[in-house]
Symmetry: C2
Subunit: 340 residues, 2 copies
Amino acid sequence: MKNISMKHLAKALNLSTATISKALSDSYDISDETKQRVLKLARELRYIPHAQASSLRGKKSKTIAMVIPEVADSYFAQAINGVEKIAYADGFHVLIYLTHEQLEREKAILKELLNGRIDGLLISVTRQSEEAYHINELVAAGLPVVFFDRIFENIGRGEVTTNDYRASYLLTEHLIQQGCRNIDFLLFSNALSIIKTRLEGYKQALLDYGLIFNTENLIVCSNHDQENERLIQYRLGHKNRPDAIIASVEKLVICTYHACALKHLSIPETIKIAAFANLPTASILQPPMTTITQPAFEMGQAAASLLIKTIKGKSVDPAETKVIIPSKLDLRKSTMLYTT
Amino acid sequence: MKNISMKHLAKALNLSTATISKALSDSYDISDETKQRVLKLARELRYIPHAQASSLRGKKSKTIAMVIPEVADSYFAQAINGVEKIAYADGFHVLIYLTHEQLEREKAILKELLNGRIDGLLISVTRQSEEAYHINELVAAGLPVVFFDRIFENIGRGEVTTNDYRASYLLTEHLIQQGCRNIDFLLFSNALSIIKTRLEGYKQALLDYGLIFNTENLIVCSNHDQENERLIQYRLGHKNRPDAIIASVEKLVICTYHACALKHLSIPETIKIAAFANLPTASILQPPMTTITQPAFEMGQAAASLLIKTIKGKSVDPAETKVIIPSKLDLRKSTMLYTT
DNA sequence: TATATTTACTTAATCGATTACGTAAAGCTA
DNA sequence: TAGCTTTACGTAATCGATTAAGTAAATATA
């Protein structure tokens, strides 16, 4: 990997590296003739400026990090897409780090990110993250941090979320209107801000429609698919079994469908199913599933834009630092009223 | 972002930066006492070595790039997972670049990667990539390149693939055994090595079972879902309509299911469907779909391992540079013989 | 005791690009 | 023509970490 450096160009043209540098950046105090000569040779020798060197000198790496819980989840995959689009357009590079929902891993990753490698950070925290000490450290050091989806409020330089509360409310309302009276809510840990919000929207809808929220309706799942499947099956065997299930997380969709199949409960006749999910296959499931589709791509774009603006030191209107992009309620057969 | 540098430590301890550097790297010619003092202060001041500076000096960035066509595809999402796992364990950072299946974008991205930013490259080429000139340039410059899934043969330092030929053969054989005699094969462009291989496996199975391959059986799709859906629908309205469809790419599954639904052809009674796909939802589709599941995670891991070994300069046994990890044929209802 | 070796550092160069500052030559003004 | 400005470049420092080479003091060897 012996690349052409400015030194090579300088020697070949009998100039100093300073002149080369200025010529390449089109500085006013280099003659047009010299600029042409430098550019020509640079092209011929395929000169490529050395990233680390410029970074070191210029105190900017043109790189941002995206720290997310996982990637094999449609939401995050689409969010990456949005981030990459904006970053690429602005000449930024994107580092990906996966926490696998583990706080310790999140801490370890962030600790390394204060080393000049990145100019800014996009993060969606783990389910275990309850306090923001480790993130605050980066913020305190002056690193621009933008949260998306799973946020800590008022810590970083921006937050991009969706209207989880309202979406959840609307979905619950829809189920009630389809005749459901005993709606279960599947969730992981309720520490996560978005899950809390979704839960509240759900509860409020129940309240507004005169339904009673029962703690039995809350099914707290773990990271183990099989265990979750058993948990849901058990609940479906209950005498007071639900007539609808809302999966607050995409990951829980598959075990829910499986559990219903194993218990021979037909969707939507006996039980209705809906989920917060970005599954491209939602429309070809058995039956097609009603989802709250989060604007993952758009959220990724918004978060990246906000971060890059901040990095560039543009004054960002405080009103712009909290972006909320609405989710879409996609009604499908899994929640349709069954009329004989 | 004013971080603590070695200079700070040096001044505080009345030592030279050289001593600090050596103390931190536990060099033999620094006294234990001094090492302790340095380490203690470094910890107290939360000294973090500056990545660009070490990179510049040490000619290594501890970063690899992963260039893939897209991320909102289960295969690549899972592959990222595998890559990140290995990279993280070895202290490597992962840059993500999306080509969106555009050769021009691929070229533009690669051009930038010769700037010292990365120590190695993992790539799965676009559907448009027919010649490897742009990749060869990196290889010629000495950058370790490992291909995975979509490869150019014998160019880089390694190739990680799956047994597409055999998997395709087995799937086709399975369909024939289920009574199919007119099997369509959906594909994008046939320039792509893996698609070619899959196509050959399919053709060979037809041949071995005395079936005739007809060019009508080849449906060449584009990047537009709606157009593809129409294409398939049209084919399904044909007098010689297929009794089975193999989607050689995950992306084509949804339009295939939709087209069948719109034409009121029931799966698997009237038509059988199978696909090369890593959809986690395959088991809850309507009906559950037979898939060839590629070992995406494992392939990501293998590719990253191979790349990192090469970067570290370990002599890699030539036999190890071509890794083939078998796919799994997951039989489900969508291809099951329908018996009344 | 004179010399050799070891110990524990420091000096200074280096990686490659950038930039404040310096300067020689040319051009301009009075 | 003396003095000023402009043009077009070079010198050297800098970013932060690393390392070959140098050195003074302490210790060991003959």
